[in-house]
């Protein structure tokens, strides 16, 4: 997979390194900005409130009351 990407990047070695770095930074940014905040509520650290609705259906309570 990574070899395939490397082979398909244009330019010489230095240009490829530069493009790869940009790609990696972009992916990390997308993860931190969108993917992780979306995935994080599925973990239990968010459940700090006492709420009857939150007990059985923790992940699906409306309004994020978990």
């Amino acid at each position: 997979m990574y070899g395939w990407i490397w082979r398909h990047l244009p330019g010489n070695v230095w240009v490829r390194i530069l493009i790869s770095t940009v790609l990696v930074v972009g992916v990390v940014f997308l993860l931190f900005q969108y993917v992780f905040p979306w995935a994080e509520p599925m973990l239990p650290f968010n459940d700090v409130t006492v709420d009857g609705a939150a007990a059985p259906a923790a992940g699906t309570a409306p309004g994020g009351l978990v």
Binding site: F36, F45, N46, V48, V50, D51
Partner: protein, 264 residues
Amino acid sequence: MALRAVVRGLSELCITAGILIVLFVVHLLYWTGLRADSASDNEIDRLHERWAAAPRDGSAAADEGRAGAPSRREREQRGRDGETGPAGGAGERRAGRAQQQPYRDGRSFAVMYIPRFGRDWSKPVLESTGEQTLRRGLGHYTRTARLGGKGNFAVAGHRRTYGDPFKDFPRLRPGDPVVLTDGDTWYTYTIVKRPYRTLPGDTGVLDAVPAPVNKAAAPFTGPGRYLTLTTCDPEWGSSHRLIAWGRLDATRPASEGSPGALTR
């Protein structure tokens, strides 16, 4: 050759998954903390700006006049309950003004100080306990009493991640002050019991007179002005909740400076 490609593909997949997990842990442990700390500081700064722009002390007299009737009724009520205490004037004044300025969902309205958690521990209190709200500070349970009001003022906060506001929750002890200000008045609540561990469905702890499932844990017998703090337990889990209760001990106009509990 085909086998080699499959093995290489699998290896790369495993490495990718490992990197993803490490990145996610970094996100949880550090990034959410950094984001939450700056969000909390922003909220507190915004509150101070708002309070500076619209000092509400000047309007207190007028409000007191308007709140006259309800506060007399409250006093009688309190007489019947046989409850006495210094939680007087300002709280009633606030109660009288309660109808005029309802808390807005997701907006901060107070700052909480808990000296037990550290000298410089301060967090904004926002309305509602939604996910997005709790990422910026502590959340006030919408259906519970107002700050300083009659009943139960209940607040939830993260134990871990998002700045770890309630990390030291189990260290709370009876007598610990919990100080809040809404820019108008300082409210000093005093913790009355060691944190009580319960199940997530134990909503009675938020009642005006807290009524936990475990009757023996009930902190109060009659109505009053109470504070409830909730967070999760164990630290990284969600199987239980920790609850701390306090009672309003003193109020003090903001113009007279911060209360003794903060300067000791």
